[in-house]
């Protein structure tokens, strides 16, 4: 029999993900990937396919794991509105902690208008995220935690849309406190 793989595909994918996240798709070269993944060209092509396919796998891995992170946050919360608050604070904190902007949003602005496969992944992720928030907001309204007059779907859009604003502000001002302040303001706006 033949020899077995000498590396952990998922572990190396993680490294590629970080690189794409940092530099973006176009600005990342195959040589960059070879260097930071610590794999030779052949192994990359053999395991993940070409650059585009590798990027899709990285992006999918990113959106999946951040979605799981949000769901974990929901599970840990004591009430629907508390969960919404936690998610909003988490969105703000993630950027500060990671020192980077959400890879999904970065990819949206770089590729969504020209790459249909990337677009599909991002659309699905955004839609899932909105659905989770909409559901929580509905429950929060039923529980009397927030005003029932406003449409939960619109509110959910509003929240997700604001996350993107957090990330832009972090890129422009590099000020974590400002982003957290924005998060608190958003929470207040929802509660009204």
């Amino acid at each position: 029999m033949a020899r077995t793989k000498a590396f952990e595909p998922e572990e190396k994918l993680e490294k590629a993900k970080c690189l794409f996240w940092q530099k973006g798709y176009s600005a990342t070269s195959m040589q960059d990937l070879v260097d930071t993944m610590g794999l030779n060209r052949g192994s990359i092509y053999d395991t993940y396919g070409d650059k585009h396919s590798l990027f899709l796998q990285c992006l999918r891995s990113y959106t999946d794991s951040t979605f799981e992170d949000y769901q974990r946050t929901v599970a840990e919360s004591k009430s629907p509105m508390k969960a919404v608050e936690k998610i909003i604070r988490r969105a703000a904190l993630r950027t500060v902690a990671e020192g980077q902007t959400c890879m999904g949003v970065k990819s949206t602005f770089e590729l969504a208008s020209v790459d249909e496969e990337v677009h599909a992944i991002l659309k699905e992720n955004t839609t899932k995220m909105i659905a989770v928030l909409k559901d929580l907001l509905k429950k929060a309204q039923k529980a009397g935690e927030i005003n029932s007059k406003r449409d939960p779907g619109t509110l959910a859009n509003f929240i997700v849309s604001n996350f993107t604003g957090f990330w832009q502000f972090y890129l422009v001002y590099g000020d974590g406190e400002l982003v957290q302040q924005q998060a608190e303001f958003l929470i207040k706006s929802i509660k009204k």
Copy 2:
């Protein structure tokens, strides 16, 4: 004497701007620029400098002209809060009308973290935009158009931050009506 320039530098810069706007900085090649500007390589380098310098001029031209557009909107308005409303609707409409996302925000996500010159232009532009809104909101509060309890600076940040959300949503869902609905929701939130 020598012959005069056979082209209008500003007109050709406009073409370059559209291309960078559409494709982003990294994904635009010098050959693309030669083709769509209708200028030969030499003339481009001679008139605008290298690719990076050309991009900076395009970006500066974009941010300047959109800022002027917003200021015109303010001048046309009958009251401070009406001006804020107009600006918000205009931000949403621009995307739908142009079928594209704000070049400033696109560039922020592509380059702000790696290109200091680009970052400086974008930071200045964002800061100017926030200042205009903050000033309008202060006046609106004094005129009793909106509640005076909330900090105008925070509100201004909130508005600009939401614009980025509009543009992300337009990229993800390609739905102009949705974006306009978001704009109306934002206006309501400000008025409360």
